[in-house]
């Protein structure tokens, strides 16, 4: 189906999803934490908008609820908590440059192609606007994963984790008009608890090694194992 022949709402969903993919790339390359948190909030807003539009198109009332939950959680609460933590840990000015920015972004492009390939059986099965969105959401999930691999800053890793959640939510909304409400509530609850725990961890990590550079968390590699620790029952 050519884009022009689609209903206007479907076209809007596609554009919003593409913009969410763009924010995933922006997150990947963004070196300043505060800016990255803002980008993440924008991504959440885009995903919530997709949910609301899909709800409009299909008439599912519970999609509006999901959109509201996302808006509250991913756009307001989690970015606010991260901001507070970043300020409390005095990380606002800290930059965390990528080691190989060009390579990382190329890998990101590769991920998009790969996702399109994986989503192909789904696309052949269902000829609607949603097929591209599944590829896009998988790409967002995998870009979040990539971000967790290449970033060394704990806060940036958490942003990658939460971006993965955004991708999953987008997949659920676009492909199936959202999961059953009880499941979505459960997932949202898990995400919220995870965020609180991440906050606790930042403080614990900061306390114990005085930095949030998780590359420093490498004592458990075998060679040092015997000397560094040991007398702990």
């Amino acid at each position: 189906m050519s884009p022009a022949a689609m209903p206007l709402l479907d076209q809007a969903v596609l554009v919003l999803a593409a913009m969410a993919l763009f924010t995933a790339f922006a997150l990947l390359a963004q070196t300043r934490l505060t800016a990255a948190i803002h980008t993440f909030a924008w991504q959440g807003a885009l995903v919530a908008a997709v949910a609301a539009l899909t709800g409009r198109a299909s008439g599912d009332a519970h999609l509006y609820v999901s959109a509201l939950i996302t808006l509250a959680l991913k756009v307001a609460l989690i970015p606010w908590m991260l901001h507070r933590l970043v300020r409390r840990l005095a990380l606002e000015r800290q930059a965390d440059p990528l080691e190989h920015p060009a390579l990382t972004l190329l890998a990101g492009a590769g991920i998009v192609v790969f996702s399109d390939w994986v989503a192909e059986p789904v696309a052949r099965f269902d000829l609607s606007a949603t097929r591209n969105v599944i590829a896009i959401s998988l790409a967002i999930v995998l870009l979040g994963l990539l971000m967790m691999v290449v970033r060394r800053q704990a806060v940036a890793q958490v942003l990658g984790f939460m971006a993965m959640e955004n991708g999953l939510f987008l997949a659920a909304v676009a492909s199936t008009h959202g999961m059953p409400l009880v499941v979505e509530l459960g997932v949202a609850f898990d995400v919220l608890v995870a965020m609180v725990l991440f906050g606790v961890f930042f403080l614990q990590i900061k306390d114990s090694i005085d930095t949030l550079d998780v590359d420093r968390l490498s004592q458990l590699a075998e060679p040092v194992e015997d000397d560094a620790r040991g007398d702990a029952p």
């Binding site: 999961m179 499941v183 306390d207 090694i209 004592q219 458990l220 560094a228 029952p233």
Partner: protein
């Protein structure tokens, strides 16, 4: 239904209650009582299921497969609670855990049991995901309970790796739901209900289902501890409090594998008439065998006693995954039996290891010496436990491994060779480390500690009984579960 509610929601109530309770002394006992209550519920539930078949309703569903794991979970939860009460008091007296930490521990112990039991009893695949993710959230702060840099590192790794893994499983679940929408009449009402999906599984689109299964396997496989996503497991086991290691090894890994098996049942039914009918089985066999071999090699020359046994857990989970992958009644029966005996043995071993590290005040294998001289019960417990886990006759693990080997010999004769080699290598790795710990000369100034070996004796005796003669009731029970998974009876 009442039995089900009692089993599953006792721990939930316990989590809230223990979170509010200030007295550490009472908390230990209350934890024990709650576990006992939950076990009573589980036994009642099992009697129900055995008498009337599956118990279902309100998006809960308990059949022969899940009820056997429910009883196992509640039982190991209780025996570990027996061990954890004095052990955590000792840890508290050593000033390694604050009063608040102890409260968190007891509350989250119940929270963890709640998520495990919920995952086993729910019929909704979305809730299953939420529960398994909840299990990570409940245990992650317990792994970092001692607040040492190593513990925090282990917890962070556990959190991130399992979070990433389980996210893949959610993507798989979404894909599954997508396939369900084209096969079910009313997907919004029961689109994620396992039983509804299983009923229409042949209509599920095979290509979408294979994509979904790959994601689900990677996701839940992370929590099973399958290589290459296993690296969180030794860290989390070695740095957390010992009762936590016992329940992680004995319960969490089993429940994650249970989720994989449920997904395999759906996928197998959906792919039956496609070009690759055995895709799920082959994937499980591959992942299982690789995990088994990698873990067997990793068992060599460990320095930390808890890491040693966590690699042994990976090894056994690999073996079970392989067994479910081979499929067929015999291999499936063997894998189910292996799940049972491994959980009993491994949690007994971790309890013993807890006492051993208490005696010698270290986790380093080369500093734990002469256990049998200092405290014969602990020494013998460790020795017998290791003999059982290494697959010596007449223990139950020998039986299940033997059944698995015969099934492999029949279906894939060439794969028996790597299995046998792996078993021998694992055996060598375990005994080289354990023999000096048990028999070596005790260092001066090493004294016996107050140890309650009752859970260990009970569990090892059970494993022994299961190895000598499988009781008819249990054999029938496992056979029903086998029939559920493979569609055929073994007995």
């Amino acid at each position: 239904m009442n039995a089900l509610l009692l089993t599953v929601f006792t721990p939930l109530a316990g989590m809230l209650l223990l979170g509010a309770l200030r007295s550490a002394r009472v908390a230990g006992w209350l934890n024990l009582a709650l576990c006992a209550l939950s076990l009573a519920g589980a036994l009642w539930l099992a009697a129900d299921v055995l008498a009337h078949g599956a118990v279902a309703g309100d998006s809960f569903r308990v059949d022969a497969l899940s009820v056997y794991l429910v009883v196992l979970t509640a039982f190991v939860g209780l025996t570990t609670a027996v061990f954890s009460r004095p052990y955590m008091r000792y840890v508290h007296e050593e000033k390694r855990v604050s009063r608040g930490g102890l409260r968190l521990y007891h509350s989250m112990y119940q929270g963890f049991l709640f998520t495990m039991l919920l995952a086993l009893t729910t019929d909704n695949l979305g809730i299953l995901w939420v529960a398994i993710e909840g299990a990570t959230l409940a245990t992650v702060l317990l792994v970092s309970l001692y607040r040492t840099p190593a513990a925090i590192e282990a917890a962070w790794k556990y959190f991130i790796l399992c979070g990433v893994g389980i996210a893949q499983a959610l993507f798989g679940t979404v894909t599954l739901y997508f396939a369900a929408q084209h096969a079910l009449a009313d997907p919004a009402a029961n689109g994620l209900s396992w039983s509804a999906l299983y009923a229409v599984a042949p209509q599920l689109e095979p290509r979408v289902m294979s994509v979904a299964f790959v994601f689900l396997l990677v996701g839940y496989g992370t929590k099973v501890g399958l290589v290459p996503l296993h690296s969180w497991l030794p860290d989390a086991h070695s740095e957390g409090p010992t009762p936590m290691s016992a329940v992680l090894s004995g319960l969490l890994l089993n429940v994650a594998l249970y989720a994989v098996v449920r997904m395999k049942m759906l996928t197998d039914a959906a792919l039956a008439h496609s070009a690759t009918p055995a895709l799920a089985g082959h994937l499980l066999m591959g992942f299982g065998l690789v995990s088994f071999l990698v873990a067997a090699v990793s068992l060599q020359r460990r320095r930390d006693i808890k890491r040693l046994f966590s690699y042994s857990s990976i090894e056994h989970m690999g073996l079970m995954t392989f067994g479910f992958g081979v499929g067929g009644p015999l291999a499936t029966f063997a894998a189910l039996l292996h799940m049972l005996v491994h959980a009993l043995t491994k949690s007994a071993i971790f309890v013993t290891v807890g006492h051993a590290t208490h005696i010698s005040r270290t986790q380093r294998i080369d500093r734990i010496r002469g256990l049998i001289r200092t405290q014969p019960m602990v020494g013998w417990g460790l020795l017998i436990g290791v003999a059982a886990i290494a697959g010596f006759p007449p223990f139950g693990i020998f039986t299940s491994e033997f059944l698995l080997l015969s099934a492999t010999m029949r279906a894939w004769p060439w794969l028996t060779l790597p299995l046998l080699i792996g078993l021998v290598v694992a055996f060598a790795g375990l005994f080289r480390s354990v023999q000096p710990m048990v028999f070596g000369a005790a260092p001066p100034g090493q004294y016996p500690v107050r140890a309650n070996m009752l859970p260990v004796i009970l569990q090892l005796a059970l494993v022994l009984v299961l190895g000598i003669a499988l009781p008819g009731l249990l054999a029938h029970w496992l056979d029903q579960a086998t029939q559920l998974i493979t569609g055929r009876h073994l007995l």
